[in-house]
């Protein structure tokens, strides 16, 4: 007897494709945010599946902080070329030069918060009314309450008290002029689901997710990649370590983990045995207990 039952990865895939197709249909100018991290790579892959054999019918938008890993940018350009996608890049540096954003000072300075300004400016400039993002509910408690279709007011702000109930798979993307939506197709995926799906579908990812030797700085227990964007404190020195990255964000706030994992299969074993969450490698979340909630309200993802 054939059992007509989807396994959970295929069910998550079907759900995400439905959400992406819905965003493409309900909005006039949707876009997909692309950071070069594994979640946005998986989301882009799902967008290809959703519209194949046609090309992805909306642009990818990358908010470039100027603090990216060079490997991420190389990967981005190669991927965009291969899949024939349209890519828009907006730079945090431009926002700083125009006086729209002010650079943080000190050794822990990061452009993570500044991204929001550049993002909101880009959405306005490109008249984007739905920005799809790869955020997952399992990442953080503020994200645990997100909708697939998350309404933002004319200031781009998230109001957790005023979210529309989301029932069955009926997605309400109606809005007033000037408002926009954030759309999260991967809402129900966990870190493990993302990795298993990458393996299942054989999706290419940037090489820094795999083990390599690198100069790192141990800052408060977090191994930061040494680069021109890091100012060493007096007591700090760099050291060579065998590491990989579990998440990819800015070089200034993404910690490496010591790991010999050189294949997807080894990465998955490592995560299965891991006793810490992936956001544990992100200094941007450690600033305060409500760091994510506060940033989201201001228009961050």
């Amino acid at each position: 007897m054939i059992l007509y039952h989807l396994n959970h990865l295929r069910e998550l895939e079907a759900e995400a494709i439905y959400v992406i197709r819905e965003a493409a249909s309900q909005f006039e100018r949707p876009a997909m945010l692309f950071s070069g991290g594994k979640d946005s790579i998986v989301m882009t892959h799902l967008a290809r599946k959703a519209f194949y054999p046609a090309r992805i019918p909306f642009p990818l938008l990358h908010i470039d902080t100027g603090h990216n890993f060079p490997e991420t940018l190389t990967f981005r350009d190669k991927m965009v070329e291969e899949i024939g996608a349209r890519l828009e890049v907006r730079y945090v540096q431009d926002s700083i030069d125009k006086g729209r954003a002010r650079e943080e000072k000190g050794p822990n300075a990061s452009r993570n918060v500044l991204q929001t300004i550049t993002l909101l400016d880009a959405l306005e400039e490109l008249k984007i009314d739905a920005a799809m993002g790869g955020a997952r509910r399992d990442e953080e408690k503020a994200r645990a309450k997100e909708r697939f279709f998350s309404h933002r007011d004319e200031f781009g702000q998230w109001d957790p008290k005023n979210q529309r109930p989301e029932l069955w798979m009926l997605l309400n993307g109606r809005k007033h002029i000037g408002e926009h939506f954030r759309v999260f197709p991967l809402s129900n995926w966990t870190e493990m689901d993302v990795w298993m799906y990458i393996q299942l579908e054989n999706i290419p990812i940037p090489e820094i997710y795999f083990t390599h030797e690198r100069d790192v700085v141990n800052r408060d227990g977090m191994l930061l990649a040494y680069s021109e964007h890091i100012t060493l404190k007096e007591t700090e020195k760099t050291e060579k370590k065998i590491v990989r990255f579990r998440t990819i964000g800015d070089m200034t706030c993404t910690g490496a983990v010591e790991s010999p994992a050189s294949s997807l299969s080894e990465i998955i074993d490592e995560i299965a045995a891991s006793r810490t969450t992936e956001r544990g490698t992100r200094q941007d979340d450690k600033r305060s207990e409500t760091a994510m909630e506060d940033r989201k309200k201001a228009g961050y993802f």
Partner: protein, 424 residues
């Protein structure tokens, strides 16, 4: 995740469940216990709640802190809305729709229940079946959640008494006889002490049944989908602007129910035209048999005029096609329902408008009495209404099909979702 196996992980089933109960019932503790005992809690999360338990002067770790919400919620001392949580066993991946227990309860529980396979309802063993237990069970039956698990909690506070447990079970059976519930299980547990949650209780030798985790892992869900009535709402028409696919027309969507395969004779609504399925595919790969809830793209043997919102069904099995329908609604907005008012309506992926023709009755969700004289439908109220839509909808009754039988109403001025509706 000690028993983790990659092959196993590739074949896991997804089970969505919702939890119902007020704060005092120990709902947060139960969810915390499930996550903690199934080893889903990571060191950094555990450290954070250890610290906070300590700050608050607790002797032991307060597991309910694991489900603690936003700053905005802590400030007000209430949970604002549904939070989604995840855990996995080697067999299944679970999505919990954790719904808060305060006054906006109905709205949130309906939201969480709309996609759930299973509802967990907590009952305090000391208090027995209360009005809220009836309310929770009624919503579970209204939303047609296939499986119900009644957790009789705080057994540690009634000396793990079999008699108390049996009494609550009898009470529940008595009140639930009026409800449309298919599959119900009763469990004596202590979320605080961990009895029968993940590990079998040593304190209740009289209970021979499964633990909660065993039940969640083994409850039979593969027949929850409808594989009989073919319903495929066309979500997006794919027409590549590339020379190699010049004549390609793909109809993309998510199968709501039924099984589709190449060679099937199908009918397109609303035109009524017939065609034969040429391919069912995704990303260039042909699918031999496609079923709910797959997202696929179909091509047909000939050109038919099909656009978003149309539905592909089987020739001899059509949904109802009507403009006037009776709907059970749960109202979800502070602005009251307007008799004679016009609202936007969304059904599958179709948008239309509707007018409220009649309010038939309102249900007192604590007693389940129907009140035909009360036409005031406000936040959290449940009522049966009659509506007329601007265009025909292709629908089934909610009892028959959760996805072609459901609608939402949207306030055209505020754009807010104001009601969840189940077509009678």
């Amino acid at each position: 995740m000690s028993d983790f196996s990659k092959d196993g992980y590739m074949n896991m089933e997804l089970l969505r469940f919702t939890t119902a109960g007020s704060v005092d019932d120990g709902k947060s503790t139960l969810i915390g216990r499930l996550l903690y005992d199934s080893k889903q809690i990571f060191e950094d999360q555990l450290e954070a709640i250890e610290q906070r338990s300590h700050q608050r002067g607790f002797e032991h770790i307060d597991l309910s802190l694991l489900t603690d919400g936003l700053k905005a919620e802590r400030e007000q001392g209430i949970t604002i809305d549904v939070a989604y949580r995840y855990f996995a066993t080697p067999k299944r991946k679970f999505i919990i729709a954790d719904t808060p227990g305060h006054i906006q309860y109905t709205r949130n529980m309906v939201t969480g229940a709309s996609t759930a396979n299973v509802a967990l309802i907590l009952v305090d063993a000391r208090k027995g079946v209360l009005e809220q237990t009836i309310r929770h069970s009624f919503i579970a039956s209204l939303l047609q959640i296939p499986h119900l698990i009644i957790c009789i909690n705080k057994m540690d506070l009634v000396d793990y008494s079999e008699e108390v447990f049996n009494k609550v079970v009898e009470e529940f059976k008595h009140v639930s006889s009026k409800l449309d519930i298919k599959d119900v299980h009763f469990l004596p547990i202590s979320a605080l002490k961990g009895d029968n949650v993940v590990d079998k209780s040593q304190n209740m030798p009289w209970y021979q049944g499964a633990t909660l985790m065993y039940l969640l892992d083994n409850i039979h869900i593969s027949s929850d989908e409808n594989h009989i009535d073919c319903r495929f709402p066309v979500q997006y028409v794919i027409r590549p602007q590339q020379t190699e696919y010049h004549d390609y027309r793909g109809y993309a969507g998510r199968i709501v129910s039924g099984i589709y395969k190449p060679g099937d004779k199908v009918k397109i609504l609303p035109s009524g035209e017939s065609a034969i399925i040429k391919t069912v595919e995704l990303f260039g790969q042909n699918i031999e048999e496609a079923y709910a809830p797959m997202s696929v793209t179909m091509t047909l043997d000939r050109d038919v005029d099909i656009s978003r919102g149309d539905m592909i069904v089987r020739e001899n099995n059509s949904p109802k096609i009507e403009q006037e329908l009776d709907v059970m609604i749960c109202w979800m907005n502070v602005n009251k329902l307007q008799l004679g008012g016009k609202y936007a309506i969304r059904h599958t992926i179709k948008d239309a408008r509707c007018v409220i023709k009649d309010i038939r009755y309102k249900i007192d969700i604590n007693t389940l009495h129907r009140n035909e004289n009360d036409k005031e439908i406000g936040m959290n109220d449940i009522a049966r209404i009659n509506i007329k839509t601007t265009v025909p909808l292709y629908f089934d009754s909610y009892r028959k099909n959760r996805y072609t039988g459901s609608v939402i109403l949207i306030d055209e001025a505020t754009n807010e979702t104001v009601a969840a509706g189940m077509i009678v």
